[in-house]
């Protein structure tokens, strides 16, 4: 059954696969994680704010993006970003945006919705007394958020945030629909060029499986070690 398979194709193309493809995937994942958590935390604060219009806008944004497929969101931003860029920079023609920049923006804006819900739960799990104690000392809203609430919320939700990042790592593969060369894109290019679909896609599956398994086990170990003693 495996006789006619040529796994040497992997040996021949691994530089391209990892230094071009996987490098893109990892870069995008890391930047989108940071951007997504920052924007997501901001969205969470908006959703929890007592300023009703802010809470409403954030709520509509988060709920809409969580209700539609990521593929559709990728298409949306791919076409929308050049127009927004033109509007921001007051240009006449839509701006050309590179593949990495466009995908980064897409994933930050999309994953922020999921990070938002995680941080929202985290912020709400901090006892009200902590907020009162901060205010009683004279801290204003931003100070109490920055010094008291968010450090605790972030610490508590770190395992869930990291798990979501592993999901993000897998989601990045969908840039395939724009023919962008991430790890899967690189593999499929090699597969088509050499006619070795089975070998390449099996290899991709194995790499992802091992990577994600190791990552999620690390998160589980981390979860056991960090807990703020109350």
């Amino acid at each position: 059954m495996f006789g006619s398979f040529d796994f040497d194709v992997i040996e021949r193309s691994w530089r391209y696969l990892f230094f071009d493809g996987m490098a893109f995937t990892l870069r995008l994942t890391l930047f989108a994680m940071v951007g997504g958590i920052v924007f997501g935390t901001l969205l969470a604060m908006m959703r929890l704010s007592s300023v009703k219009p802010l809470a409403w806008i954030a709520g509509v944004y988060v709920n809409t993006l969580r209700s539609i497929p990521l593929v559709l969101v990728i298409f949306w931003f791919y076409f929308l970003v050049p127009y927004i860029g033109a509007w921001v920079l007051r240009s006449d023609t839509p701006i050309r945006v590179g593949a990495f920049a466009s995908s980064l923006l897409t994933f930050v804006m999309f994953e922020a919705c999921y990070y938002c819900e995680i941080m929202r739960a985290g912020i709400q799990s901090i006892p009200r007394g902590q907020v009162w104690a901060g205010y009683a000392l004279g801290l204003n809203y931003w100070q109490s958020m920055g010094h008291v609430v968010l450090p605790q919320a972030f610490r508590n939700m770190l395992p869930v945030l990291l798990t979501q990042t592993i999901v993000l790592f897998q989601d990045v593969s969908l840039v395939y629909v724009l023919s962008i060369t991430d790890f899967v894109g690189a593999a499929s290019k090699v597969a088509e060029r050499d006619g070795r679909l089975v070998e390449m896609y099996s290899f991709v599956a194995v790499v992802y499986f091992v990577a994600c398994l190791l990552l999620s086990q690390s998160v589980r170990r981390l979860q056991a070690r960090i807990a703020i003693v109350r």
Binding site: P127, G129, Q130, W132, A133, G134, Y135, A136, L137, G138, L139, N140, Q143, H147, V148, P151, Q152, R155, I228, V229, R230
Partner: protein, 242 residues
């Protein structure tokens, strides 16, 4: 120092405070007591604006708490508050708990804040625990740190919301001792508590609340001697029993 006039507060349609009025003069120690649900915690949280109120006025040192133009954080920095659940910041050491508001709100330098923090820590008898986290301290120790944290801000008045209710019996006295000393040094204090022993020792006045209203507001001797209302008498008989 603290003037409370005609305070009424509703949670939606439920009235929790009805027309409460009283005063705490500079250097006075006022104890607020009453059964659960009488609104005493709510009232004290209105004094520094942690809880909003719909009717009436509260002024602290001439500044109106309910006025939208008042800079609340600035006012709160001048009023110290101690909570039932201590509410130390668990992710910071004792030292960091003490210096956070000094540096971020009062703008003190790090050395100055640290020196002040250590001095007050010594005063409550916990200097050796400066580098520890709240999770490593007992309840009584945490509450004493909380008192020190409030005192670091050099407040003009201190509010206490049931400071010993969450403590095991053997730790109550160490906290009460700190509070007694504070009172004897002339601090203006408003204390919500069940500890009548404390009230007898240092209170100037006792306020009894029931169902959102101030039922009695008399000097200590009058309150313990001959309380006028039946509710207060009933309450006293129940808690003085043990």
């Amino acid at each position: 120092m603290i003037k409370i006039s005609g305070i009424s507060k509703w949670y939606s349609s439920f009235q929790v405070l009805t027309d409460c009025s009283t005063e705490v003069a500079k250097g006075e120690v006022v104890v607020v007591c009453g059964p659960s649900g009488s609104g005493k915690s709510t009232l004290i949280k209105c004094v520094n604006g942690l809880e909003p109120f719909q009717q009436g006025t509260i002024t602290v040192d001439g500044v109106s708490v309910g006025d939208p133009k008042t800079d609340l954080p600035k006012l709160r920095a001048r009023i110290g508050m101690v909570f039932q659940n201590f509410e130390l910041f668990p992710h910071m050491t004792v030292t960091q708990n003490l210096t956070l508001a000094q540096t971020k709100v009062l703008g003190r330098g790090r050395e100055e804040a640290l020196a002040k923090g250590m001095a007050l820590l010594e005063r409550v008898g916990l200097k050796a625990h400066a580098a520890k986290f709240p999770g490593n301290l007992s309840g009584g120790q945490q509450q004493r740190v909380a008192i020190a944290r409030a005192l670091c801000m050099d407040p003009i008045a201190m509010l206490f919301d049931e400071p010993t209710s969450a403590l095991d019996p053997e730790m109550i006295n160490e906290v009460l001792d700190v509070m007694v000393q504070l009172a004897q040094e002339g601090m203006t204090m408003m204390v919500v508590t069940h500890e009548m022993g404390f009230a007898r020792r240092v209170a100037d006045r006792v306020i009894f609340m029931d169902a959102g209203k101030i039922v009695e507001d008399t000097s200590k001797s009058e309150f313990f001697g001959t309380p006028r209302s039946e509710r207060a008498q009933l309450f006293l008989s129940k808690i003085l029993g043990h």
